[in-house]
């Protein structure tokens, strides 16, 4: 009976009923109230009222989705298609240019995989996490058992080592889209390692996923015991399949490849294991190796950013993201004259450790060409460098493109042309 009526009244377009048509029908039901009564009797409305409405469906009631007018999407990163010719997911960048606040929606969180990988379709009831190697008590956990253990919930960014801007990039999605921030929930890895009892000389762990390539990374024990998380939760629900469902290791503030997805095994070992992931991220000198693990203080202006358009002179709130693998962001500064003068920006909300932090800066654009930059300082006192400062520090020849050693945390310059168009200003 109910189903019959629903079928009959269903407009042709399931998702967008015509509002007037709907009101007319509603009015008829209510006993002849005229449609005109719904409109304002005096003056002119500043904007048309919506013509359409989103029809309720069981599916939408069960799990909502965004407005059809919101078109912000991820894109393959670095010129390599994803999925690739083999159907493998590779690197996909988040649309930072449309981001607000500090949480990256799970559907827009950047994706990186070991060599290109199929996303495994894991039944959580069948999934296990094993801890073994140089431990007193090897252990194997079901997901249910992990959820019984003391949990923590933390905001953390994850950033791919390949998040390096260059002058060929146009948008902030291309320059910086391989970082994202989510609220992660899980068990501290130290809880599990203490439960297993790490033996002397257990200086490293190898974490491994269950996907077809069994992506594995070596992580120093000092980091594993400090703040790493075994996550089953992300942004208030289960970790998404592209992010490692049902279990992901999170290594806060370190290059993203260490945050192993679809985690099923942790082996405590006595040495760096030189896995496929590890070999791909080797460095030639120890200074670069030291700069390659933990991400330095970093920030980027997301509005206005590359390929955006300012409609004309006037007031704008400059907005951006700052983060550091060294802890919390303590200061963000903005320059509107290409780095000559710096003014403190405002930090919006709380600056969490190893998490994206939103900053903003009140700005009146006079319509002249200018260059916007941001730089941040973290709780260790490290400051985000310009590319020129990096070149100077390493005595690089001034006539060659700057080579940023280790993780790229260089300042991103955006040039505002007098017509209001915004361009990448890396030279």
């Amino acid at each position: 009976m109910t189903d019959d009526r629903k079928e009959k009244d269903k407009p042709e377009d399931l998702e967008r009923g015509d509002r007037r048509e709907f009101l007319k029908r509603g009015a008829a039901l209510a006993g002849g109230l005229s449609l005109g009564a719904a409109e304002s009797a005096i003056g002119q409305a500043p904007a048309p009222e919506p013509e359409n409405m989103i029809m309720g469906t069981t599916e939408l009631g069960a799990y909502g989705k965004r407005s059809r007018f919101e078109t912000s999407v991820r894109i393959p990163h670095g010129g390599r298609p994803s999925p690739d010719a083999f159907g493998l997911d590779f690197h996909i960048a988040a649309p930072l240019q449309e981001s607000v606040g500090v949480i990256t929606p799970s559907s827009l969180h950047y994706v990186g995989t070991t060599r290109g990988s199929f996303v495994p379709d894991i039944n959580p009831e069948d999934h296990r996490l094993m801890i073994h190697g140089m431990v007193d008590r090897p252990l194997i956990f079901t997901l249910e058992e992990l959820k019984r253990l003391p949990s923590v919930t933390r905001l953390h960014f994850i950033e791919c080592a390949g998040n390096r801007s260059n002058r060929r990039h146009n948008t902030v999605q291309e320059t910086h889209g391989m970082t994202s921030c989510a609220e992660w929930t899980g068990v501290l890895l130290s809880t599990l390692l203490n439960e297993a009892g790490v033996q002397e000389d257990g200086d490293w762990i190898v974490a491994e996923g269950v996907e077809e390539v069994k992506g594995a990374s070596s992580i120093p024990m000092s980091k594993a015991m400090e703040d790493c998380l075994i996550c089953y939760g992300m942004n208030g629900e289960a970790v998404r399949p592209q992010q490692g469902y049902p279990l992901r290791l999170l290594v806060p503030g370190f290059e993203g490849i260490l945050s192993v997805k679809w985690l099923r095994r942790i082996k405590v070992v006595d040495q760096f294991y030189m896995t496929y992931n590890d070999y791909g991220h080797l460095h030639q000198d120890s200074d670069t190796a030291a700069l390659g693990m933990q991400i330095g203080p970093k920030s980027v202006i997301t509005f206005p950013s590359g390929e955006q358009q300012l409609p004309g002179p006037g007031f704008y709130e400059i907005s951006g993201l700052a983060w550091s693998g060294g802890g919390a962001v303590t200061k963000v500064e903005v320059s509107t004259d290409g780095g000559r003068n710096w003014v403190d920006a405002e930090i919006r909300g709380t600056a969490h450790r190893m998490a994206h932090t939103r900053f903003s800066f009140q700005w009146n654009w006079d319509g002249n060409e200018c260059e916007l930059q941001s730089r941040c300082t973290d709780e260790l006192g490290s400051i985000q460098p310009s590319r020129a400062q990096i070149a100077e520090f390493w005595n690089q020849p001034p006539d060659q493109p700057v080579r940023v050693r280790g993780q790229d945390n260089s300042i991103q310059p955006w040039r505002i042309a007098s017509d209001g168009s915004v361009h990448n200003a890396i030279s």
């Binding site: 010719a85 083999f86 070991t114 060599r115 094993m130 008590r137 090897p138 252990l139 194997i140 956990f141 058992e145 992990l146 253990l149 203490n194 439960e195 009892g197 190898v206 491994e208 077809e212 390539v213 069994k214 594995a216 120093p220 000092s222 980091k223 400090e226 503030g253 099923r264 095994r265 040495q271 760096f272 294991y273 030189m274 896995t275 496929y276 590890d278 070999y279 791909g280 080797l282 460095h283 030639q284 000198d285 120890s286 200074d287 190796a289 030291a290 700069l291 693990m293 933990q294 330095g296 060294g326 802890g327 260790l380 490290s382 985000q384 460098p385 400062q389 990096i390 520090f393 280790g406």
Partner: protein, 188 residues
């Protein structure tokens, strides 16, 4: 009363005792068989390597019959999948110049064995026998001029292969610790 005064001390001792033994008693002990089935890690020193052996000639045959050539190219290059043959950069003493190609850049031959074993062939990962993995490893090291054509690889000889990049990569420095400024004297 005296007992209450000592209570904090008992509590401290309790915490100490907990650090030595499991606190929560959640999870179970895996069997030896379960650990063996899952533990595919191979260290640079190769202690987990299984018994077995392989030759360049067998590897060349397998490279064709197992479908490697279909994706990576008949000669280790020219396919849709990443190339496996070092780049032709002429005479050089710098192994980094050959490109990020596993069987030439990896500092240890064990990593080549490990990756083929865990991740290849695509869609049939984990189906190669240890002997087949030794052979394909031998073939790839041979075409990259790391080992001679008559070299036999097994669990003893594989970790001893002198990869050109063995000593030209930098491990994390000894002073390195997480949560510190990344490099002493580097303000950024």
């Amino acid at each position: 009363m005296r007992f209450l005064k000592l209570l904090p001390l008992f509590m401290l001792l309790g915490v100490y005792a907990q650090a030595q033994s499991p606190t929560y008693g959640v999870g179970r002990t895996p069997t030896e068989g379960e650990i063996r089935a899952w533990d595919i890690s191979i260290s640079p020193t190769g202690e987990e390597l299984p018994q077995g052996q392989g030759t360049v000639a067998e590897g060349e045959e397998l490279y064709l019959s197992k479908g490697c050539a279909g994706c990576h190219g008949i000669t280790g290059t020219g396919g849709l999948a990443p190339r496996l043959l070092k780049r032709d950069v002429g005479a050089t003493s710098n192994p980094w110049a050959f490109g990020r190609i596993l069987p030439i850049r990896s500092p240890y031959a064990t990593a080549v064995w490990d990756y083929i074993n865990r991740g290849m062939p695509l869609m049939a990962e984990g189906t190669l026998t240890p002997n087949e993995v030794y052979s394909i490893t031998a073939y790839l090291l041979y075409i990259n001029e790391v080992i001679p054509e008559d070299k036999v690889l097994d669990n003893e000889s594989l970790p001893k292969v002198e990869m050109p990049n063995r000593d030209t990569w930098a491990p994390l420095p000894d002073w390195w610790k997480p949560g510190l400024p990344r490099l002493v004297g580097y303000p950024y």
